[in-house]
């Protein structure tokens, strides 16, 4: 008979996903891909919130995740609008090409 799935494995998976996202943020140079990697990191954090909530018989982790999702949605709307604006201005979304605050 197998035991119940331990909490540690979920945290481990969350750590792996977070690291993959962080590596993506550091190594990729395309602003939209970096944005997607940040979404992946947020998802890894969400997974660990839900895991803690489940193993403590609490719903607070779930509530946290709902607010993180709301923030991520607002961030996506504003961030992608900024990318469109930068593309109109510079003709690229390659982050190494943005080194001036003044357009």
């Amino acid at each position: 008979m197998l035991p119940e799935i331990p909490q540690d494995l979920y945290y481990l998976l969350s750590a792996v996903l977070f690291t993959v996202g962080a590596i993506g943020v550091i190594t990729r140079r395309n602003a939209i891909v970096i944005f997607m990697c940040i979404e992946l990191m947020l998802n890894a954090v969400n997974l660990s919130f839900v895991t803690s909530g489940n193993f403590l018989n609490s719903l607070d982790g779930t509530i946290f995740v709902i607010f993180i999702m709301a923030v991520a949605a607002a961030e996506a709307a504003v961030g992608l609008a900024i990318f469109v604006l930068i593309f109109r201005l510079k003709g690229t979304v390659h982050v190494d090409d943005f080194n001036l605050l003044k357009g």
Binding site: V16, M36, E75, A77, A81, I82
Partner: protein, 177 residues
């Protein structure tokens, strides 16, 4: 997830964990941003299935609708709107900085790993056990908390979304010359 055999639960967990890891790695390594976005959607789906194994069915559905549906659709639209010169930008340029960055990130991973294997489970236990959630309904329990104890935070989140919408429209409109 009550009433499902433990072996099946393990099978689902292992399959979805491997799928999430593999597709996130594919997401990071693909050159074409559209391929990256599609792999990220696969990752979101497998994490949604993991939420179901954690008795968080409401979050699982919200994950599919908000992340895989709304946010990734927005990302795909923007990628198609600004046709990226993806062929040139990653042309086998293995710079020193990238290797250093990856090593630093692996150190970060080891730190998180140390945290995972040394933490003590010291939280206070709540009243929403899996049994109770199954009786009461997950969505109903979440809604009761969201409109009761966390009503103020909920209203603030809705104002944040409104500000986000207005900001996005204001930023992306065409300016009159």
């Amino acid at each position: 997830m009550i009433g499902i055999g433990i072996g099946f639960k393990w099978f689902i967990f292992v399959a979805m964990a491997l799928m999430a890891t593999g597709s996130s790695l594919m997401m990071v390594t693909r050159k074409n941003p559209i391929h990256s976005a599609l792999w990220l959607i696969v990752t979101f789906f497998s994490v949604a299935v993991l939420y179901v194994t954690l008795n968080a069915t409401f979050i699982a559905v919200a994950q599919v609708m908000v992340y895989a549906g709304a946010i990734m659709m927005l990302v795909l639209f923007v990628i198609m709107l600004i046709h990226l010169e993806w062929g040139a930008q990653m042309g086998a340029k293995k710079s020193f900085a990238k290797v250093i960055g990856a090593i630093i990130t692996l150190i970060l991973f080891l730190q998180i790993l140390g945290g995972v294997y040394t933490y003590s489970n010291a939280g206070q236990h709540g009243i929403y056990s899996a049994q109770k959630l199954a009786e009461m309904g997950n969505t109903r329990a979440v809604g009761t908390l969201l409109y009761g104890k966390y009503a103020f935070a909920f209203e603030v989140a809705s104002i944040l979304l409104l500000v986000g919408i207005v900001g996005a429209v204001l930023l992306a409109r065409k300016r009159k010359e």
